[in-house]
Amino acid sequence: MSELNKLTIADARDALRKGDVTSVELTEACLTAIDAADALGAFVHKTPQIAMERASAADARIKAGDAPDMCGVPVGIKDLFCTEGVASQAASRILEGFKPEYESTVSGKLKDDGAVMLGKLNMDEFAMGSSNETSVYGNAINPWRAGNGETELTPGGSSGGSASAVSADLCLAATGTDTGGSIRQPAAFTGIVGLKPTYGRCSRWGIVAFASSLDQAGPMTKTVRDAAIMGRAMMGHDAKDSTSADLAVPDFEAMLTGDIKGKVIGIPKEYRMDGMPEEIETLWSDGAAMLKDAGAELRDISLPHTKYALPAYYVVAPAEASSNLARYDGVRFGHRAQMAAGDGITEMYEKTRAEGFGPEVRRRVMIGTYVLSAGFYDAYYNRARKVRALIKKDFEDVFAAGIDQILTPATPSAAFELGKEVSDPVEMYLNDVFTVTVNLAGLPGIALPTGVNADGLPLGLQLIGRPWEEGDLLNTAYALEEAAGFVAKPAKWW
């Protein structure tokens, strides 16, 4: 078999089980591809030795029979996940040298299933960003280029390294995390599938926290089927996370029938933003038509509090981050600044945190500090929590009225040029406009590629599902994927 790194999880699994290929071969193919792709800036800590050990172990397990689906599948892990004995830095200088003594629940579940970790993937620092430009490791680069141009594009963020790696076939799949769109937006920018499960589906234990009430891990894969397979492996109740849902995880792959006859798909009018590029308009209406052709019913719906989602997000996320990031103080792990004569503990904190955090993280931590400071709690954070309740109720109302899934664009544009938006934080925040409502309401959402723009860049649509009904959501996504028949791949330039 040639170019094993281009396989999907499903194909790899079947080939492994048939004995057509070994995990060692798959892993070697990926490691070779990774070594040839440093220009993408996707893998920031490579772990070839661990990978080969796990691949051999997986082969033995597969041979013995009864191996889980993910057994022997080479994957990349976002740097936000703590991986035992392996650098886990959240792409921040402040965690320089940090090697956790523990393994996050989600990466641990994948490991237990026999998945092969190839290394750690680039991301925005502490997952704060939409372009992977805030990483201490430098930018991750989108394997896609516009037309015949040589301009470097963003893979999106914060899971930019994951998106870039999967899109460029450096690994079969990768983990991501999504706080405001950090799985779905990069997936859309790189022509892959990204699933953000219902809040509480994936344990947050061992994942460096950004905004605890919004953070959720999920799979980033080449196909919807792969998202079903890997998603199932990542999800499940964890007693170590008090917000983890004690619910059974169904066999999502078995639910992929492609039959969506009678499903009611909501098209929310508030997502038709002023000045939305025509290519996005077209993508959206084409997607709706495909679902209709597949037997679904389309219905116009209203989610009236949509416009307040981004402002609420930019209160809740920085506020929680300001508190979650207080532990990076140079005392117990990570970077500690050089002290000058006469410096005390306060100077140590201030210098360590000024040096250790990049500008965007510093900005958000300070904004969060401000909105929580004396006298502002009710005006900002508590108000934002209530607005979340209104946004959630918008969704509950339409689901109660019979809507099964909601179709929206995933992003307001195709991947943009690196360096283009970095100067204006508010402009950058607008990237999350279609995705952030889903985090605020805790719902599952999936982005999948359904077309390309005039420059040949991939564009994605988002489907939003009912809480805990990832299976149904994946099935609708599967039907849309079938209908769209997206097969484009980036031309290799790296």
Binding site: R353, V365, V387, V426, Y429, L443
Partner: protein
């Protein structure tokens, strides 16, 4: 609401992030841009709205009172920038 440099300095201090004096005006301006953006929340009447606490109703899970963790001094100190005699060492704290 407009943030001046004094407020920006106070916030930086609270967040324990050193900001040079000459950088404060730019910081205050950034704060203002972002706050201007989130100010819209004030348009909504949320008086009778209960804040959101979870996606679907869930009971806070509880642990039984058993010793299941600890006894790992070495691991706890493994990543410390400065550990001595079993302690984390930090520049002198003056109370």
């Amino acid at each position: 609401m407009s943030i001046d440099t004094a407020t920006a300095a106070r916030v930086a201090k609270l967040a324990r992030i050193k900001v040079e004096k000459e950088d404060l005006p730019a910081l205050a301006e950034e704060f203002n841009a972002i706050l201007g953006f989130i100010e819209q929340l004030g348009e909504l009447d949320v008086d009778d709205v209960e804040p959101m606490t979870s996606v679907t109703p869930m009971r806070l899970p509880r642990r039984v009172d058993e010793i299941t963790d600890g006894n790992q001094q070495e691991k706890v100190l493994a990543n410390a920038p400065d550990a001595r005699e079993g302690f984390f060492a930090v520049p002198k704290v003056v109370e």
